[in-house]
Symmetry: C2
Subunit: 400 residues, 2 copies
Amino acid sequence: MAGRYVIAAAVNCMDFFEPGCSLQRPATPLCFQCGCGPEKEPLDCELARRISHCHTFWMSTSAPNPSAILQTAFSFWSSKVLLTAVEFGVFSKLANRRLTGVELGAELKLHPRGIPDFFDALVAMKFLGREGDGPQSKYFNTPEGALFLDEKSPRYVGGILVMLNARLFKFWHDLPEALRTGKPQNEVKHGQKGLFEELYADLPKLEQFMGAMTGLSRINFEAFADKFDFSKYKTLCDIGGATGLLCIEVAKRHPKLKCTSFDLPPVEPIAKKHTAAAGLSGHIGTAAGDFFKDPLPKADVITMGMILHDWNLEKKMHLIRAAYDALPSGGALVTIEALIDDERRENVQGLLMSLNMLIEFGDAFDYSGADFRKWCSEVGFKRFEVIHLSGPSSAAVAYK
Amino acid sequence: MAGRYVIAAAVNCMDFFEPGCSLQRPATPLCFQCGCGPEKEPLDCELARRISHCHTFWMSTSAPNPSAILQTAFSFWSSKVLLTAVEFGVFSKLANRRLTGVELGAELKLHPRGIPDFFDALVAMKFLGREGDGPQSKYFNTPEGALFLDEKSPRYVGGILVMLNARLFKFWHDLPEALRTGKPQNEVKHGQKGLFEELYADLPKLEQFMGAMTGLSRINFEAFADKFDFSKYKTLCDIGGATGLLCIEVAKRHPKLKCTSFDLPPVEPIAKKHTAAAGLSGHIGTAAGDFFKDPLPKADVITMGMILHDWNLEKKMHLIRAAYDALPSGGALVTIEALIDDERRENVQGLLMSLNMLIEFGDAFDYSGADFRKWCSEVGFKRFEVIHLSGPSSAAVAYK
């Protein structure tokens, strides 16, 4: 912290910024000790001259100013604009076309008032491209938009955004109540069925939910399949395997491995359909059961992707014990999550995901590699490892 | 875009990252043309070796990946955590103290379930500091938190965050409906009074709202007072002056200028109170009236801070004409807003603010310097200027 504020002195120095740098010196430089304004002692410019890359510098240090606070405070606006665009199918409608705001707005049945602001906000946020300026200009998909937000793309991640827009934005409004009561704020609070109960009663909804999770999980399962050392193992069972995606990504890269996707009976046909579509039915089997009532299928590697965080400590321990019982000596239990760093200081998304578990389930929570190691040690696991996957996600591994 | 993707090729190159760099190579490098995975042609590493600063590079370029999409999609979570912390008074309660999670949670009457996740998320987001790790560790205010989020600080900006939490988070959930109908989604939709109607019927609420706006406006008014050339002018009138803050910041720096804060009659005592508290009653007068019914007070400089964007085009033109009529030849009309860039490609906050005007008022909207110039030209103004103030905000100036 001290170091940060010494360097922060430099922002008072006008000649610090390189020519061509689009960043601006703060209008009113604040004293770096107390934020009291420019009338205090003159600040040292030497440090500034020694730093040649203003962008990096500006992003990592500056005098106390409220911009980080305001940016986070207002960030639900940009969130909501993107989520709404995905719900409306902006990126899918555009596909490979270039349309004016009026044309695209007409296809989406939008009122004229919001059309330019909505689409231009997406341009400024870099989620849409625009050719030209003014009413005749044409909007088009960026490579990222086409790849990840057009529902026809095999790498579509929009399902999770639709769910965030339809459910979680509203439920997160009640975060204050969740923090005061420790109780879930989702459908359950409003007298409806719980998330999972509802989903398993309605197969199309279940498949949609699984699709949403799939988009989010793919990049992590791919990374896991790449990074984990499967050389000693012959079989893998993925617990709560949903569409079979983890097995599919592993089987693609490790064709000698025999994989099984395990989930509740209604899910089995969904997994069969997806593994067949991937041409991997010969490598991936399915098994049906309730992971709290039935023993888990025996396997050398047991994986759980975004499963353990859905439950309270008692049920987490049940699942860890069940995995221990199903593994041979030397076998590995792998959980894939937005694993919180052991000091709980870095992984914002992991900590927020844990608050999301509060919103969804109340007593469920996310955890760190250290937590996982402690629980697994109690059950008898001997060796532990954390493998970073992508973004905020990691694999926590316990070897029996 | 092309250039971006050429450089993006380099992320496939493991030896690119400098020793000690904490950033990670993507788990699964994607083809930079189609995102299809690493099996396509080998990517060129030469470009990578020519770039020595991995942080800057990583931030400005990368192969198509969904991280920007996911970060924005989920950013309402971090928004809501910060807004809730301000509503709960986390920063004000802490003040100069260091408290454990249990101690702070007890003062805020929080349920134990969410305590560590809530406070540690604020630590990871850098809005709180924490001494040590684990249950005995103590949370404390960062310099920014103490300066901007403790309500006892003269630079408190939390008022606007409380308003975002109490009103706008909920109303923004209905952005899809706003875009389909062009209608406001605030209290009006729910059969209650409009924002301003409600505020002016309830003085304490009005003063609270003005306090919220004040925190947000101060840094811009300070910058305006610093950057605008007042040398030719003797009088200034701030239209919709609220607590008198713009006059206060100008009068502090330009004691020869005679300033007037103009607003509706119920606001006059609030402005008098604040200018007196600032010891500037001798420099700042007040005037009461309705800016749509009454002529504006004559002055050399007429300012409107976050006023013009609250209205539709017809009312905007009324205000611009009223200002023209009240100015002498050579006089200046200044509007201070999150002014949209002329090409509507850069200022995300300005474009989102315009969507916020849709949520609040329906037909009101934000605008660019080019829009302002066009409207003011029609009325007779001769010369124009845009002065960047701070963050997304600028002053648009029209000279008569």
